[in-house]
Amino acid sequence: MRDADRHLLLARTFAARRLFSLAALLSVACFYFQAPHQVSAQSLSSREYEIKAAYLYNFIKYVDWPSYGDTITIGVLGYDPFGTALAPLNGKVVKGRRLLVKHLDSVREAQQCQIIFVSSSEKQRLQDIFESLRSARVLTVGETQGFADGGGIINFIEENNKVRFEINAEAARRTGLNISSELLKLARLVKS
């Protein structure tokens, strides 16, 4: 065999070995990433909404309604961004009353709730919602710019990577709700 042929054969052998090694590596990598993925197929929930859900729970402690039934109902109006974050609230007892979380199909259902979370999907009809709830003793909570200025009571905002909130105390008074000074102290106060 000539030198050139021998070199060519050597080069091909080494190229084939490298290709084989690469294929082996990729196979191992696929196996490696597949196994843990199967173990961890669990539900996802955003931290932002876990915080907002905990706020809703806390608001109940700092707001007084003129009258209560046996349950305190939290309704979600519009698209539900909470995922599974509201689930831990269901059945908890606050102020001696059991919490119930409901997804609402209409504003009329909202009148039976103590708190409603108005999703940002309802941005275009906020005024209609506030108008419908004018005589109801409902704490309206939103996360839309202009929600509290427009007549809602509490609006979530994000500041410095933290969930903060605005309160329209005037709207709360109109609704007949009494908000504690401790809650007002942490809030950014806005007017209609």
Partner: protein
Amino acid sequence: MEESHRKPQRPCGIMALRCFGALTLLWVATYFAEAQSVDSDATRDLTGLSLEELYNLDVIQLNVIGGHTHPAHEIMFGYEFMFMDMGGHLSGTRDVSETEILKHFPSASTGMTVEEHMVEVMYAPTNKLTVMAMLPIKHIDMDMVMDRFHFTEHSQGIGDLQILALYTVLGSVTKGNRLIVDAGMSFPTGSIDEKNTILGETFKLEYPMQLGSGIYDFRPGLTYLGESKKWAWGAEALTSLRFGRNGNGYRLGNEYGLTGWVGYAVTDWFAPSLRVNGRIWGNVHGADPDIDPTVDAEGDPHRQGGRRVDFLMGVNFFVPNGIFKRTRMNIEGGFPIYEDLDGPQLSTRWLISAGLTYSF
């Protein structure tokens, strides 16, 4: 340069076996850590927190797999150690022996180590913009042989200061997928006049032994980041573009890098990762008149370029709570799976890096 017989110390089978072993170890660690953290993905009930605690809770928490950019007003200090071991020579993709090199040059390199200590600081003025500065301190040794006389060249000192701005153009720091434009520059703070004295003779060290480029490098790039609750993946194209000549009459070749990675958060404190890193770098343009290109291949401006693809495995640790909260540590090591050098040049055997960062 003619080809010599392939050396037996770098067969691909052994590299594949090493890789198989490392991956299996990682997989076993992952499996058991996963088993201990079955609830880490479930909804967290934060109702036990007080109003004040909720008020001060971060929405975007640093985690073990994130951290490329930062939320507004966050500062990060970091230290990274890198080590690269080189040995054997390649011309193109073929091995070349020292004997063969010594037929063309009076001296030849026999091995090289590059040690780098990098200090870095990052600051995010807004959620979309993160700026960073990095300063490397280098320590380079190259073993040489000349007429059967063995000696070691040595250089150490600060390298080129790099300043980069990372701007999120698509997506946001809170979302899973992001596209980031990188714009940066390196400043010629590293020396290009490193010299050694061997047997009473002082000479200028070769191009790979110098600590900086000697000119302002432009470093544009593009980064894609993807992130789910458990997985993080991404790709980054980063270049170093050089224009003009430095004070010694040359400029290093442009560099083009493309890297892709995937990481899996087994728990909120541990994530193994895999990365493939490809790099193309050009030859030196011009020449330093004080470096004799006929003494060894490292001093020849036309034998500096190359192409290399590295396969890297890493482990990442993050401290979510306690005194060392927000401290991140990562260790990554690997080897080239493809190397093609405008040689003869020293080939890379393996490389390792370890980093420690603290954000507040």
